[in-house]
């Protein structure tokens, strides 16, 4: 069980640079071959200053791709082998393009204990507010992770 005192706990800050190569590889792995995600000239022709972030690019910078943050959660009693992704929400506040640098301090917003068919589990809500290099809020990533109390 996770101590309810973890609510409000912040991690990081983490800083990431949005790379063209990552946007292109990530879009391709989803089968998204729209040239705006792969070709700078196509992106500019469509009115973007650089390759734009696909809607779920934030996951490349989120919990699942952040081993130090996963290690923090493991210390709190939520190790990776017992985690499942329950819900994901992105709120888009300002566009993100290749070349941007984003900074965030993910925070635990909530912890809820539940009883399911295969035993008890907890729902941990993690919110990450990514800010641009100039300070503007770009993206809010709200992730609900299911923490199973046994893996069977």
């Amino acid at each position: 069980m996770i101590d309810p005192a973890v609510i409000g706990r912040c991690f990081g800050p983490y800083r990431v640079r949005v790379e063209r190569a990552q946007i292109s590889a990530f879009a391709a792995a989803l089968g998204e071959m729209n040239p705006i995600y792969h070709d700078l000239a196509a992106a500019r022709a469509a009115g973007y200053p650089d390759l734009p972030a696909p809607p779920t690019l934030g996951t490349c910078y989120g919990l699942w791709a952040n081993p130090p943050l996963l290690a923090e959660l493991a210390l709190l009693g939520a190790p990776l082998p017992r985690l499942l992704h329950g819900e994901q929400r992105y709120s888009y506040h300002a566009p993100i393009y290749a070349g941007d640098t984003l900074t965030a301090s993910p925070a635990i917003l909530g912890l809820e204990r539940k009883q399911g068919r295969s035993g008890s589990f907890e729902l941990l809500t993690l919110e990450t507010q990514w800010h641009h290099q100039h300070g503007a809020l770009a993206l809010v990533d709200r992730l609900v992770v299911v923490v199973r109390n046994s893996v069977q």
Binding site: A29, N34, P55, Y90
Partner: protein, 149 residues
């Protein structure tokens, strides 16, 4: 009055089909997204976690729904996008991802569009469901091109 071709409540977004999904696609997604959880790539780890075989990243399914959203709104027009993961997706399964416009509102010359989204696996099992909200120029149409600014 809506202009011919303008978005209407009930309009379906152009659907996307994927699969049968191959484990190599999960490996590729893991590398591209940085999610190296072996639950998605190592059958022994997946079995020890109580699954019969590796399961797809939930975010791979959400990424496909993101492609569906492009039929309505380019990356600059999405305001909110949320998905609940309801069942694991296994290798060999086909996914049919779609969506439907549920509400429209005009505000300050812009069209606020809400839509529901779904990802269905084999036997119409619901793998994920979600919603989106986008802000488009008034009179916008469904494009399927994903290039609306």
């Amino acid at each position: 009055m809506h202009a011919l071709g303008a978005i209407q409540v009930g309009d379906e977004l152009p659907p996307i089909e994927a699969g049968p999904l191959r484990p190599e696609e999960f490996v590729r997604y893991a590398a591209a997204s940085g999610d190296q959880n072996p639950l998605h790539t190592d059958p022994a780890v997946a079995r020890s976690a109580g699954h019969g075989q590796v399961i797809a990243h939930g975010m791979l399914v959400m990424g496909l729904l993101g492609r569906v959203s492009a039929g309505l709104a380019g990356p600059g027009a999405l305001r909110d996008f949320q998905v609940r993961f309801l069942a694991p997706t296994l290798p060999g399964e086909r996914l049919r991802c779609g969506g439907r416009v549920t509400a429209l509102q005009e505000r300050a010359g812009m069209l606020i569009v809400q839509a529901e989204l779904w990802a269905l696996g084999d036997g119409d099992s619901v793998k994920a469901s979600g919603t989106l909200r986008a802000e488009l120029p008034a009179g916008a149409a469904l494009t399927g091109s994903g290039t609306a600014p």
